[in-house]
């Protein structure tokens, strides 16, 4: 394994507090919320694993081998958050489950051709079409499809959350000091997304 201090970007005589701060900053950077349905989510997950391991290794060294709790677990289990869809197509057909699996694999072509074979254009159909568009970077299209899904099934939280995410313009990590001063900025949008997240009971709902 590489130098764990190097991975966290600190020197080996950093204080415990500094180690923790560096770890937290990086965990914020690679947080699954910044990579929702993102084609690069696998890379972010790898990075998160790397910093978790580095943090654990440092803590083990400092506590003379007595540190057992993993950073991943103590920080709320980030690792599990990267999977796209957990396949909660309740009442959905087999095709939709297959489409979700294909999207998670990153095989958009197959997902799209499967969807085109689906017998009816239900709310879920539009939602999945939107997800494929999102993966391709077709953000306007994705928003329109999510909107249609919401119109057809206004009570579905998954669709509503996806639409709200598009309306908020997504989110990304910015280092401290790079948040935009003045104006209606990222802060409002972040806060509302956080609230929404709480309402929906966190990731992967």
């Amino acid at each position: 394994m590489n130098d764990p201090y190097g991975i966290l970007g600190i020197s080996s005589n950093a204080s415990d507090e500094e180690v923790k701060r560096a770890y937290r900053e990086l965990a914020r950077k690679y947080h699954p919320d910044n990579y929702q349905n993102n084609p690069l989510a696998d890379l972010a997950e790898e990075k998160m694993k790397e910093i978790n391991e580095a943090y654990d290794a440092i803590m083990r060294m400092r506590n003379g081998g007595s540190h057992t709790g993993s950073a991943g677990a103590s920080s709320g289990g980030y690792n599990s958050g990267y999977q796209g869809y957990t396949g909660n197509s309740a009442g959905g057909s087999v095709i939709y489950a297959q489409v979700r699996a294909a999207i998670n694999r990153g095989d958009l072509q197959q997902a799209e051709s499967l969807l085109n074979q689906a017998p009816a254009r239900t709310a879920e159909w539009h939602f999945l079409m939107g997800s494929i568009a999102y993966r391709k970077g077709w953000l306007d299209e994705a928003r329109q499809q999510y909107q249609m899904a919401c119109n057809m099934e206004p009570g579905n939280m998954e669709y509503r959350q996806a639409l709200a995410y598009m309306q908020g313009g997504g989110q990304a990590y910015r280092p401290t000091g790079y948040d935009m001063g003045g104006g209606m900025g990222a802060a409002d949008c972040c806060a509302s997304m956080l609230c929404l997240n709480c309402l929906c009971g966190g990731r992967g709902c």
């Binding site: 084609p39 890379l43 972010a44 391709k136 997504g170 990304a172």
Partner: protein, 299 residues
Amino acid sequence: MFGYVTPLVGELKVKEFQKFKSGYCGLCHAMGKNCGLKARFFLNYDFTFLAMLLDREACLHADSMCRCIASPFRRRRVCAVTPGFEIAADASVILSFWKLKDTILDEVWFRRLKARVLSLLLRPAYQRAAKRLADFDCVVRQCLAELHTLEQEHCPSLDRTADTFAKLLQAAGAQLHMQEEKRPVEQILYHVGRWIYLADAYDDLKEDFKRKRYNPLIARFGLKEPELAQGDRHLLEATMRHSLNLAASAYSLLTTGRWSEILDNILYLSLPNANLRVLSGEAIQWKQIEQKNRRMIYE
């Protein structure tokens, strides 16, 4: 390429600003070395961003001090030219050449004439660059042809036309040799490309409307007047901000390098800032913001 992508100069440290200028000069020198003197006149800030993004390998060489035709008396700091810069130099020449060709197809006669003369001047440089980056040249040619067809059809999908332009920039990232950095770089270029395309469409809205030319925003929102309604403007702002967020998320996955401070400034600060200012109506066009930035860099 339109010169939209510049750092927010007021937020750079003095040493970072000097570094940015050394990168700008470095790309100019790389273009001269690879493609000849005439190519250097097509340098712009978008290409400088491309060069800094593609320059992923560790550089052991120090900067040098050089004179050039733009600064014949005072020596300027020029960064060491790395393979990333050479790729960016060739890509810049290819993009400039096809942009001129595109202008010849679309524009009114006097602009057409100007583009024709310039494309003749650039041709030898283009040929040298296209020999080295044959596959990139091929993608650019295909994408621009596709874009032209979509424009002729008055394509109402914002994403489809923007996608074609974004893919064209993305292809520059495919030239990278470092596999693990390639996917994030491609994603950054895709979304910055999408943003540039939409920014340009917004800037050209009035003129395109007057001349009854295709503009993706007119087609998408079915505009009856050369102005976006409040709601549509919000939609555009959100979708463009989303692209910048996706570019920033991809950028966060890259390891730090020679140009990190400048790229941080561009992706985390300058572009989102410009996006907000223009679409909230504070500034009228991106061109104004960029011109102001450009003046600051030049002085």
